[in-house]
């Protein structure tokens, strides 16, 4: 499905490239042995080098290099055996060195790709231009003291991976799918926690438009620091339409950096940043030798690669007899995939039912209550697995299973305890169900007549009545059999 914006003189398509900054999961910072942990007392996790003190020499953290290589492999990318650190020069209060140590013309990871799924279920390959290692800056707090900005350097020097895509995306949806996939990959690899609202994953979008069918690349604008996937999609939509309006009115688009305002759902111009070559990149003389990724390291990282979402989905289909679509949706997020497998460890649990309860019932509950991590639910994996086992052995019906979930969330009780307490066990006793059926048949003579006359749809009505009378506890198989006998 292509995303087209109608202009006055022609239709436009959108060209999007994303730059994503991922904070590397490591104990210490990229070039110092201060803690990379976020939060804590301000300026507590700061080595002299992170504060830009003179006479200090940066030494690169081996593990951060490994994490970058691992992420590169996860993105099917070329790992560069030799890369070089460069200084990117600019002045800002939270960058005490006056330059950021980054990588410029020789990044550690070169071209790669990832595959996203489009709305129609087809797959699109999005190119990765590069991944490079660099330092994060500190944090400025502007609203604590009048007339002053307060600087906390705890984040200064923490390792970042900047992952740059090719301008291969052509709709807000594709950009959202790319970012979702990238986040899933880094979470699977445990190289970044991917939490956008905490700033450990940050995204800038480059957006331009062009007449449909043309191959030109028009002037692009960079939208900074969009801190959720939803905002990213909204920001791109606004920005693309702004470009089309400008071209419609014969105006020009200037290359600039813009900020997204989530309340107004619009972008506005930031004060013009210096042009790219004004960063005056040059190889960092403190890190003059090339960063070498040895064959041993590459081999070690290759051997440590975990099972990735696509492989996991294939295994889920084979092992748990669920559909391909269910398997894909379960494995998209590592936490959900782990939760599912834990539930399946319970004796007698059923794959199909467990998948369904996770993807439909629990997913709806989580989105209503804004719960991000499935492990925060009171319905633990073990409890869910046991519930589906109880459905399988006929102790409870599927409808009761669904109703149990909100009760567990509310009370934090074991499913077996709630079933006992509320008397939710499935009734399979034919005698009891028979009595109820007889009463329903007696109470609805008109429906019985119509059913017997051939209106078979009414069968569902009778099943519903029995379910209602038994509060959903009657065994559907027993109801069906008895009803068929009685109504024939």
């Amino acid at each position: 499905m292509s995303y087209i914006i109608k202009g006055r003189t022609c239709d436009y398509e959108v060209v999007i490239g994303l730059e994503v900054h991922c904070q590397v999961i490591s104990k210490a910072k990229l070039f110092s042995s201060a803690s990379a942990e976020s939060g804590g007392t301000p300026n507590d996790h700061v080595a002299f080098i992170d504060a830009g003190f003179p006479g200090m020499l940066p030494v690169v953290n081996k593990f951060c290099v490994e994490q970058a290589v691992k992420t590169g492999l996860g993105l099917n990318a070329k790992i560069n055996k030799k890369s070089v650190f460069a200084r990117k020069n600019y002045f800002y209060a939270d960058l005490p060195q006056g330059y950021q140590i980054s990588q410029y013309d020789k990044p550690i990871v070169g071209e790669g790709y990832l595959d996203i799924e489009l709305e129609d279920g087809s797959t699109k390959r999005i190119g990765i231009e590069r991944l490079h290692l660099e330092q994060d800056a500190g944090k400025s707090i502007h609203d604590m003291l009048p007339g002053k900005s307060c600087i906390d350097l705890n984040r200064s020097g923490v390792a970042l991976m900047e992952i740059v895509s090719k301008p291969d995306m052509s709709s807000p949806y594709e950009a959202g799918a790319y970012l979702t996939k990238l986040r899933s990959i880094v979470r699977y690899l445990e190289t970044c926690d991917g939490n956008m609202n905490e700033g450990s994953m940050r995204c800038d979008a480059n957006v331009s438009v062009r007449p449909v069918g043309s191959k030109e690349l028009r002037t692009r604008c960079e939208i900074k620091n969009v801190n959720s996937i939803r905002y990213l999609m909204q920001a791109i939509e606004y920005e693309a339409n702004r470009h089309v309006d400008a071209y419609d009115n014969g105006e020009e688009i200037y290359q600039e950096t813009r900020l997204f305002n989530a309340n107004k759902k619009e972008t506005r111009s930031m004060r013009g940043k210096e042009n790219a070559n004004d960063y005056r990149y040059f190889p960092d003389p403190d890190l003059a030798f090339p960063l070498v990724v040895s064959d041993e390291l590459l081999e070690k990282v290759k051997n440590s690669m975990p099972e990735m979402p696509e492989e996991k989905a294939i295994r889920f289909v084979q092992t748990y007899k669920i559909s391909e679509d269910e398997a894909k949706r379960l494995s998209a997020e590592k936490t959900v995939a782990n939760y599912f497998e834990e539930a399946m460890k319970e004796k007698g649990s059923d794959g199909k039912k467990t998948a369904n309860l996770i993807l439909v019932e629990l997913a709806a509950y989580m989105s209503e209550n804004q719960i991000e991590n499935i492990y925060e639910l009171k319905t633990t994996a073990s409890r869910l697995g046991r519930i589906t086992a109880l459905v399988e052995d006929g102790t409870i019906g599927l409808r009761i299973a669904k109703e149990l979930l909100p009760m567990i969330e509310e009370t934090d009780k074991e499913p077996e305890a709630i079933i006992e307490e509320k008397g939710l066990k499935q009734v399979s006793d034919t005698g009891e169900i028979e009595k109820i059926i007889d009463k329903i048949i007696a109470d609805n003579p008109k429906n019985v007549e119509e059913y017997k006359a051939g209106k078979e749809k009414l069968f569902g009505f009778f099943v519903g009545q029995v379910m209602k009378a038994t509060q959903g506890k009657a065994n559907p198989a027993v109801i069906n059999k008895l009803l068929k006998d009685k109504l024939s």
Binding site: S26, K27, A28, S32, S33, A34, S35, A36, T41, P42, N43, D44, H45, V46, A47, F48, A51, V59, V60, N61, K62, F63, C64, V65, K82, F85, N89, F91, Y92, A93, S140, I141, H142, M144, L145, G147, K148, S149, C150, I151, D152, L153, E274, D278, R280, L287, F289, P290, L291, V292
Partner: protein
């Protein structure tokens, strides 16, 4: 380099020159660049520049060794508040 370029670089480096001194600095910079040209013209074709023999970047283990330096860090700061460095307000 002309005075325009000097002024641009000075701006990027947050340096402020008196009007009168820009010309002198431009001349100095050009003299320095001339020296660089002389260095560039040296014949280095016989120097072994095989990258394989070059040294590689030293790396360290991922271990946290430094903490609670904040008092030492703050000692030299012109202004602090609680545990923060403070600077003139950066944004409006």
């Amino acid at each position: 380099m002309d005075t325009k370029e000097i002024n641009h670089i000075a701006k990027l480096a947050r340096l402020k020159f008196d009007e009168g001194s820009v010309e002198g600095i431009t001349k100095d910079m050009n003299d320095i660049l001339k020296w660089m040209d002389i260095l560039q013209s040296a014949d280095t074709s016989s120097v072994d520049n095989n990258e394989d023999d070059a040294q590689e970047l030293r790396q360290r283990e991922d271990v946290v060794k430094i903490s609670n330096l904040s008092e030492d860090l703050m000692k030299n700061a012109p202004e602090c508040y609680e545990h923060y460095f403070t600077v003139p307000k950066v944004v409006e």
